[in-house]
Symmetry: C3
Subunit: 267 residues, 3 copies
């Protein structure tokens, strides 16, 4: 019965939290449409309305699912307004949600295609003005599993693109910033492996942070930097919250300094 384009898996990434039953309600709607669906939570604890964090979490996770998975992203401050409903097909995966930049950024990063959907194309006649996760996107996910996505979309569009700060090349290396702080208090920057040389030094808050390979190489309380599992350079403290110990929040500047140039300055 299911279209072969799909894995039969639907993931959910939202800012709904765990208290109110909002995510569970969406699952009910999906299972009503497509009872065999395997529904997997990526996160329901994206900070409320935080589009950047939704992008970072979903973009880091989705590729580990089977191709043909439908990823529903509901961080949606514009719910009920005229913002568009979109479907993105990128890297062999499907994404549905509001057109607020998150899915557009995923489409751009993975050379995907973006379609618009509307109530008529989805086949719904009304929706609440505050919970499109339930009334629009969960319905769309279930219908796509049954009918394929081409029946659900109207036409190609250029999606809204989320702004993300990019590292800036400097005389001595790169200036970046902390993009994300995870559950362990690790400080995830927008600097990546490609910005490092064999002689790079990390500087945050005027302190040099040694680069290590894994957490337990560090001494307790002394921060270190490593390449994390998302491919970003992160600042960490062994078995502790780097964010608290260093007093760092999102947006803090972090620099890569190429040591050759540092040497020259000393001369």
């Amino acid at each position: 019965m299911l279209n072969n384009d799909f894995s039969g898996i639907v993931t959910l990434t939202t800012d709904f939290g765990q208290e109110d039953g909002y995510a569970g309600t969406m699952k009910g709607v999906i299972l009503n449409q497509a009872p065999q669906t395997c529904i997997v939570d990526i996160s329901h604890n994206i900070p409320a309305f935080n589009l950047r964090q939704a992008f970072i979490v979903l973009n880091a996770a989705f590729v580990y699912f089977p191709k043909g998975t439908i990823h529903v992203m509901i961080v949606d401050p514009g719910v009920g307004s005229s913002r568009r409903h979109i479907l993105v097909h990128a890297a062999g995966h499907y994404f549905i949600g509001p057109d607020n930049g998150v899915l557009g950024r995923i489409a751009k990063l993975h050379n995907g295609q973006t379609w618009a959907m509307d109530f008529t194309s989805i086949g719904i006649t009304s929706a609440s003005s505050t919970f499109h996760g339930r009334d629009v996107y969960a319905v769309a996910a279930g219908k796509i599993l049954n009918l394929g996505y081409r029946q659900l979309v109207t036409g190609f569009i250029d999606p809204v693109l989320l702004a993300l700060p990019e590292p800036v090349k400097t005389k001595t290396g790169f200036d970046g910033e902390i993009l994300y702080i995870d559950n362990f208090g690790n400080l995830v920057s927008n600097l990546r492996k490609e910005h490092l040389t064999n002689n790079s030094t990390l500087v945050i808050k005027d302190a040099i942070v040694p680069i290590v390979e894994y957490y337990s190489q560090l001494d307790f309380t002394a921060p270190g930097a490593l390449l994390n599992s998302w491919g970003y350079i992160e600042i960490c403290v062994k078995e502790a919250q780097a964010s608290l110990m260093l007093g760092v929040t999102i947006g803090e500047k972090i620099s890569i300094v190429n040591s050759n140039i540092t040497e020259e300055k000393k001369k």
Copy 2:
């Protein structure tokens, strides 16, 4: 093997939190009895012992699941005492849990029927005195999926009914109160669409709150009121926690004032 009365889905609504593995343990018990069950979390973050919040969340969510779903509700301050075990059949859904008012209120609201269950009818010989979610209700859910519910129940009973504050008609409209505050800080009242006219004004904490259709119509920091996805009137602030910004907690009074009468007073 499964009885055709059932969707094969079991939902869980509890105050167990996410830390201790209590909900996961219940899932193990259910899967031991009925391995093909699709188990969906509605919420495990009902505030401890909060029967009203359990009712509001479960009542808002259950109807979106396929009919024949079994909803297990374990907010159970009387666990281990002589409070009864019940099964409610209402609106095509099944509910099991302790007889403490939550499921009785759902039965009454949806003209359902309530049966008692006991250890003998469920087929258990002993249970811990602190975790009937695991030892009684998860077992019952699994057995009902296999055997049907009629074998598990003893007879009809009148369930305990949860008290819920109802709006009161006033000279100028209705007085209600804040029943629930969600993850976004939205203030959910017990006032509904039926209490509004085309010329209604919402008043909370001596301030008039404009009625809008969706969140992003509001200016930042200015509160508004809208009809939410559960059918209640809620007070919200655009992309912010209304509860914090207005200093409102559960129980705060909120009034609907009919503007015609306001006009008359002015004359």
Copy 3:
């Protein structure tokens, strides 16, 4: 396709939290390997790096799952170091994770066997140095479901054993301590039914705590002790957080005093 040794269920017990999509990512990896797997969360809110809490939660939950379930435990402060990867077979269940004492303690408690695994035996060529839950253990779980575990392991080893404080026999009974505090603020000690006589008294913070059977037997605000659903003696306060009301944290001493000896002292 699945090996008959297995239930087809994989459980997850981690300190990943709910925010970052780490647990969801592991589920994607498992479903990529074994699409029919039923994945159940035991807890993702083990406090970061807290091996003892991971042991207590997993050990209390796993036995309620069908035999042949694979339990993946990822509290892993040594991730990326040379700490070993292990598979434990105990009590008819399978456990995989890092060799840091948690699974070794389960193996010892249930007379299980412990095998080592390595990248070659698992069939992976590289892994991040910070997320072996995704790159090593989720892959291993999926492969075990498909191939059986014998192909994934290298040989028997003696696992690391988590230290757990044991009750100490005293002249008048037993001295124990608070091991765990649950979501309800209940204080779970390391004292068990076997340490009680019919005339035992519980003492914590120089106060005698009456022993009851279930929570609602207590008056509000007065603490009590009971045998909880994990088989431990716990201190509780009716519909309140005993930890907050008594100012007790993990490690607090708790004693069982045998009343006969108390009587003798009085003479």
